[in-house]
Symmetry: none
Subunit: 190 residues, 4 copies
DNA sequence: GATGAATGAGCGTTCATTCAT
DNA sequence: AATGAATGAACGCTCATTCAT
């Protein structure tokens, strides 16, 4: 019966947090975030109990956005390589298209503010990805490693590729391909 | 500005910074660093003009330590694979043997506090590494890429490997090998 | 301003205030009080214009409860000592039976939030008590003092006794008696 | 070798705290205290680690001042009544001469901010007082009560007397005497 | 050179109260 | 009447840096 919480305000806060964290790091103050979001300092805390809660929710939102992007048109019937390439393309595209969000995800990934529970939640929905890595690992050079190793390998190469492209945007395509080739060889070769 | 009187104090400050940054992140206060180092708050600023200067000098020291470690017994005459493996072993070994220093390097690498100038300086002395990567790139899958791409690839896989081992220490050897295999395949395959 | 619709809500707010002030002091937030009372933050302010008003009304309610308790079965015909003892017993019993309410009364008594007007109102209805003190003061050691002095004396000894018993509950009876004896001697002796 | 901590500043902070707590209660902000003391907000915390520490130290200072006052010229050889009256006079005089300090002591006495340890420390040095009460309790109406009861009784009557005088200053002497008479009768009579 | 007291802006968070719903 | 979102000043405390000693 009272004024309902406004999703617009919540989104404005999250958007402001993305922008400012990308610019200034995780230590941006809640008051700056509130100001950029156009809400009062107090309001920020009616939408997020603490700064830490804000960061955790932000992490989940971003992860979920990446996932939605990725699985929407997932070519479940395609060849293994095509599916792997699909994952690669979606993730790298996201990193390049949304550099602020990408920066924030990577900063949050290594932050102490993200709780174990949040990390666990953030992995849900990536079963397709895990399945691909497992298939890839069935044969090939890394067949004796746990597939978590493959996931880490994939992630680290995608991130490297995104960052490389960010620094050399004029030749994005070629590094995009080269990164995938490196991954594919790493996992399937020799 | 003049060379400070006591290198011991300078080193104590750097050592304290390493320990505390590894534990608590880059936001540790200078006063905590001074206390752990056993010097006064004021003295810290006679050895390092600002906190940012301290972080930049720390970054250079650590990078330089890694490099010294690496090039000391570099097997210049060995095979390409043996030299590549040597680099791999030295870097990964360092990351595992000195987890605090490794954590600090990775935190500083992505920090806004490190100036471009510092980053440039920190790359000096890695010519041997660059040469290896260039040789590796002469043939193989990535022969059309700039060797900086190869360096980034190598670094990202080494870091991934170190972190994976840090989380699964009981099977260090196997991931150590697997990481190198992945790199070798990535660059030379298929 | 108009008589609020639901006396139940008003009472729930007062009860919550008693509980929380006893636990956490006068600085409890109105929002905590509202939550414990099961009403909305806004509703609290339709029942009490401000927090200060809430505290003042609470003070009057509690004082009035004490008085009701006391005068209900007042033995108007008994001896002076019996009547004095009756007052003593009722007050001390109240303090021990309702420690939360007692704590709140004493906290409010010394609080800046209670207005002079409230204090004056809170004294109404204690005529019987005043009469006893006046009788007591007719003869005895304090016969030249205003009876307000006697009232203050009585109150201070009752409070002291209640607090002493609260800290040494296993010997309540003995301190209960001793307190009254002290008062009786103080006023009638030597 | 650095600038030494200045006792003047510490005292200024304590004095400001006394004045402001007497006026506004224990909830005065540290920043108001700092402002009145003429030091920066930060400096307050170099003299007192937390607000709670400030309150505890203030309590000890005030208790110690009362004690010094009391025991300085203590008439150890005088009669029991003379010694009791001496204690009475010193305490009441202090309460009347220093109403701010008196208010602060009584507020702190019942505050949650004062730690058990502080309370224990604050009782040291009052052996003479305890001895008097014990002597008084050897005979008389309260001879079966623990002397802590007598101490509480004495304290409560002194406080009542001080407060009564504060509200009726023109007849201070008479209430001063009457209070002591009440106490003496309470303990020795009938 | 060494020390640590001094500073005041800034931090994350809470609060009593208002007012749109 | 009831709700709870909105507000921004205020809170206790920390910080990097300066400077008197």
């Amino acid at each position: 019966m009272a004024r309902p919480k406004s999703p617009e305000k919540r989104n404005a806060i999250l958007a402001a947090a993305i922008q400012l964290i990308a610019e200034q790091g995780l230590s941006v103050s809640t008051s700056k975030i509130a100001k950029v979001a156009g809400v009062s300092e107090g309001s920020l805390f009616t939408y997020f109990e603490t700064k830490e809660a804000l960061l955790n929710e932000l992490y989940l939102e971003l992860k979920s956005e990446v996932r939605a992007n990725m699985l929407d048109t997932y070519p479940a019937q395609a060849s293994l390589e095509a599916r792997a390439r699909y994952i690669w393309d979606m993730y790298v595209r996201f990193g390049i298209a949304h550099p602020d969000k990408y920066k924030v995800i990577t900063q949050l990934s290594v932050s102490d503010s993200i709780q174990e529970q949040t990390r666990r939640l953030s992995m849900e929905g990536y079963e397709a990805l895990h399945a691909i890595v497992q298939e890839l690992f069935a044969y090939g050079a890394l067949k004796d490693q746990p597939y978590a190793f493959g996931t880490a390998l994939l992630l680290s190469l995608m991130n490297m590729t995104i960052e490389f492209i960010a620094h050399h945007p004029s030749e994005a395509d070629r590094f995009w391909d080269a990164g995938f080739t490196a991954f594919w060889n790493a996992v399937t070769g020799p």
